[in-house]
Subunit: 285 residues, 6 copies
């Protein structure tokens, strides 16, 4: 497991791979680096090559910031797949689902800002997506930031409930991500009062002078497993309830954004900010 | 795991493989593509080759739509196996079993329309089959669509119960499929209130910047396993009860279709529609 | 897993392998095919070669129906092993055990007819055997057919109880087969009310367009395991009680057949039918 | 897993390997074959070669029955290891332990007759042994024969309790054998009323025409595991109580045989019979 | 598993690797050896080479004690990674977290003295660290030394609670180490009254003359697993409560050290001692 | 698994390897053989070679009994490691720990006599050791001998409790050995009334003529696992309480021996006997 470079590392890598490529004067590699936390070196090289291709296809002599941003998006979410034509009803579903993520995220103090939402199908399985980018590079996450991440993930399913009083298979991926975060909160980060400050996950060897031996390869007792399951469930239930409450309160915004998505397919950070700006002010922290 | 091409992809693939093959003027590759969700490229190529063979065997100079449809059916359900001669009693059993699937599916708002039912044995183990094709290409399934799928699967066993007050080994495959769907509803799609919005299946690595590590390879507690089993059971029990209720109410239709099957072996979508059309109207949604 | 050919297939295979072998005019390959459900191609070839050998050893110029039948029996139950000399007491035990299977099977409406019973030791571990052949080729089995199969399997142990008020290791194989059938009734065929219509066995990948992923590799909860164990046990207990009740009512027949076996070692279908014919009539269905 | 030849087989194998070896006129290969149930062909060849060696070492021109019997014993229990000198106390312990086995076995109707007991250490771990040989070749064992086998196995520990009111590590092997037999009674032979006629051991594929698939690789529920443990425990407890009761009643015989063993190291079947003969008569069956 | 050399061994190894390297007259290899418990030979060689490199880079002709100490630190905690620029808020978090470790450790009689604390990011994942070095070489650890180690590990999370009433992902590594220690106290060192003097971890073969066989590969019962989990949890809960109590009582010291860290990035043992010296006196043992 | 030679075997092996080596007239190879139960041939050869080396290093022309004894000790406990310098407090700890073993062992009727105790560190991890050698070669161990072995093992931790009212990591190895013995008492030797005469450990194939099949690879039920854990715990608790009681009663002896160890590092069997002789007399058996 190699971890991703930090911001400074990403800028340096981008500069290396940009050598010999004609960049437009408006290009800010730092901006690109800020929007790509989690990218490894190969991802960044990939993005620069995609951008060069795009510029060529557009018969531009230099790579513009827009080319770069589209290239990054392709690496993040896969290539567009316009042939993947959803029915009108499905398209509306997806629009409300993504709008739900965006409205919930925008209503929370510690959620990452929404960079873009889209209902253009991409890659193998993406019917729509909500792209969040942290305002600043973060190395430590607070419990409240993790809870806001969970609430945002639950926004998709919650929006479907609010609008259609029904549920679909579309939230499967959100639930998988949310469950993994909640399990780490409980088992790795010591963030659940019920389970306490015990580490219940990786049983790795441990460097301890004068105590011979490795960490024990022990499995938890059934009672502890039940306790962990209960805490994970509580965290997820609460996150969903919070998301639902936010969307019920902001239903007009939700509808406005979803309809805008249906009409325009994609809303970028600024457009969203325009429609959502009043939201944060509404909500006492 | 490579997923199947979508409608547009299937049309494109069919066109490629149809090049150089003499198609009759009535042939609609789109229609073929619509009836083959889940086919991969090799399946489609296979179907076109089978159709060419059929045309040759029939001494036709061009491949007709009928040739293509028979070829698709062979790929879906295996080659006919006329030598597999069932006794009269068994044949009647199979006819009622398939008619049960068809009547239940036709009575439900969100079940896929029945394209064909047959009691011609095919392949290794198929004594009869009910072929459903979705009206439009679907990327997201609602909970009610999944429930209707379960009810349709339970229609075979329910028909045996209604007619013979007895059960056979013939429903084993239906139960296996239904159980897998119910488990996914509960463990992957968050569609059971009792279990809630927790993902209990694949524990895959998860892309989470700033949180080091993989999703935990944890197994659920015995209590949660009991809860999951209970929810899966409830969903399946209810689906069977619903199927049973539908067939008890529509028993004359069930008998008519089963007898028609015994007499003619196969009923296509239009013939079935003729006999079943009033059904949907009967049933308030 | 390749499944066995059906009746038509077996006839065809026998014809292929019979080419060039001199068959007596009385030979009916169809009759041979009827008595060999479950034989694969190699088994059938094997039986024809054994028959040829037998004919040669007997200095016949053609293979007779009797040669063929003995050859089939050798493939079904292994070569005779006359050296395996049981004591008188053990021989009587074995005779009552096999007579128990035969009498129970003959008393049941849905059990396969008994083709032959024998107390000639065969192969590695067979001290006696009861050979049943279905009257017609069957592709679906009803719950009552499975229950009758279980009752027949329990007939051996039940006969020992009735005659000797004691039990031996001789029923181990019967119990293993019976347990496997009962487990499949409960976990695969949905034939137990207590467990319901849930599939609890093979968790195989499942072809489901639009629902990504495989069936879940989930294990059942302890509560469900208990429920399954309970249902399996109930089914087996009941089958044994039924077998016992039948043999208590037909004790004179049981004794007559067992004594005949001790005297003549083997009874074929017709001889048995002669001694047992009144049985079915005795028993209301 | 190849199973051992039966009596006839063993006689035949002995004859083959005896060819060319000078046998004394008193030699009865059948007697040798009777005392070697469970021997495979290689064991029998081995015994004949050992006997030839012994005869040579003794400068005899022919192999005597005595040579053969000693050779068989060496194959059964390993080579003598006179260097293994036990202390007087330990030797007495071992003598009472073996005498316990012998007295219990001799008191039971269905236990195999004792062929020899010895306190000459043999092989790696044998400090003494009790060699039982069935009176006739047996292919089926009754529940009472298995219970008598368990009682005999418990005789060693019970004798230690009766004489020394103490226990040692010397019964470990007896307990292991007894546990395996009791588990098979409960899980394979259907001999426990509490567990019933269910097979809980090897889940082997099963030949069942018309029912597709293998026996299920299912593990038992915790409740069933508890039930099995309970039944196994009951059977073993009872066997020990029975052994204890026998030895308390026959204590003078136990002491006489143990003292004889201390004095003469070995007692053969006839010597034992002489000292034990009245025992069976004492005990109503 | 090769264990690390002891103090004498480390001095000897350092001398070997120092041969031919120009050391300044102030260099004390013993001091270096004292600060490197747990280093293997390769680590020590590594540190000497790093020190030589540092001296060269600084254009010094001899290696100074300072060069050596920096080289040791690099081996302990990884290379500095100044590019890893934390935001102001995160830097303050890390400073309080490390200050928490240091203040708790300094307040305890049996904790190892703090050698240095730093908030210079290092290596892949270290945002700050607290480096403790035992006063004397220790081969046995008392229960109270282990408890003080746990309290010190909990000091980071406790400081975050005291100052920010919030928790972050930053304590994950502390919790993992603390859990491993607590599990060893309970399962290997017999230090929990609830679990008692039973060894529940490695089931290794065991040298025991006259008792044949290995330690049993047995897993603990669910009840024992629950008991172990409970004891581990209690130990960790108590350690955290103790850490919290210490920091609440010493809050001004905590703040002073954290602010000093924010300002100067690093505090060495002597600087810390200056700010912390009164602490031990405050606390009755 | 090859088991170790017995006394006679060890004498024979020593004689073979001593050939050609000049032995002093005082050398008794039998004495050496008596002190090396559990040694394999290679260990004995190793000891003779070490003794020859020692004699050479000491410029003796013959190998003395003392050389041999030191060589044996090196094989038993590893080479001396004088560089491993413990602090005074740790040295005292170790001295009391070893004295605890010795005093408890010497107070018990069935414990092996103490041959030597030492606090010279040896090998990788041995800070001190108590070397017990059985008075006579033993092939069977009584329950009371095993209990005395457990009490002796608990003597180290108990001495620490008596003197320091505190516990350390130093008893880890004792607890591991004691747990393995207690588990074998319960699961292999049938020495616990609660668990009874059931074998719960190695499920090895078993030679049983006429009963086909292997011992079952069954795992115990949770209830039985709990019972086993409980019995093991009881045995260990009681052994510790007994050790504690002995040391509380003999505290002056404990202190005298520990202080002697601190002063002289090593006490051999005779010196110990001198200081401990009155102990056995004190204690009624």
């Amino acid at each position: 497991v190699i971890d991703a470079p930090d911001l400074a590392g990403r800028i340096a890598i981008l500069k290396v791979h940009a050598k010999g490529k004609p960049l437009a004067t408006d290009v800010s590699l730092e901006k690109i680096a800020r929007s790509t936390p989690g990218f490894c070196g190969a991802d960044l090289a990939n993005a620069l090559n995609e951008a060069a291709l795009l510029a060529t296809r557009r018969s531009h002599e230099v790579i513009s910031q827009k080319d770069l941003e589209e290239a990054v998006e392709k690496v993040v979410a896969g290539p567009e797949r316009k042939s993947h034509r959803l029915g009108d009803e499905e398209r509306r579903r997806v629009a409300f689902h993504e709008a739900g993520h965006a409205v919930v995220a925008a209503s929370l103090k510690d959620a990452d800002p929404v960079h873009k939402i889209s209902i253009v199908p991409r890659g193998r399985a993406t019917l729509g997506y909500t792209w969040q980018v942290p305002a600043t590079e973060q190395f430590i996450l607070s419990k409240s930031a993790l809870l806001d991440r969970l609430r945002s993930l639950m926004g998709g399913r919650a929006a479907e409930e609010v609008m259609f009083h029904d549920m679909t298979t579309g939230a499967a991926n959100d639930l998988e991500k949310a469950t993994a975060i909640a399990e780490q909160m409980v088992c790795v980060f010591g963030m659940s009062e019920g389970v306490g400050l015990v580490h219940y996950a990786h049983q790795r060897p441990l460097f301890l002078p004068a105590i011979e031996g490795d960490a024990l390869p022990r499995s938890v007792s059934p009672e502890t497993a039940t306790l962990i399951d209960h805490e994970v469930r509580q965290i997820l239930d609460q996150a969903y309830q919070d998301a639902l409450e936010i969307l019920l309160a902001k239903r007009p915004k939700l509808e406005a954004i979803a309809e805008a998505l249906v009409a325009r397919e994609t809303l970028d950070g600024e457009e969203l900010e325009g429609m959502l700006r009043p939201l944060k002010a509404d909500r006492p922290s």
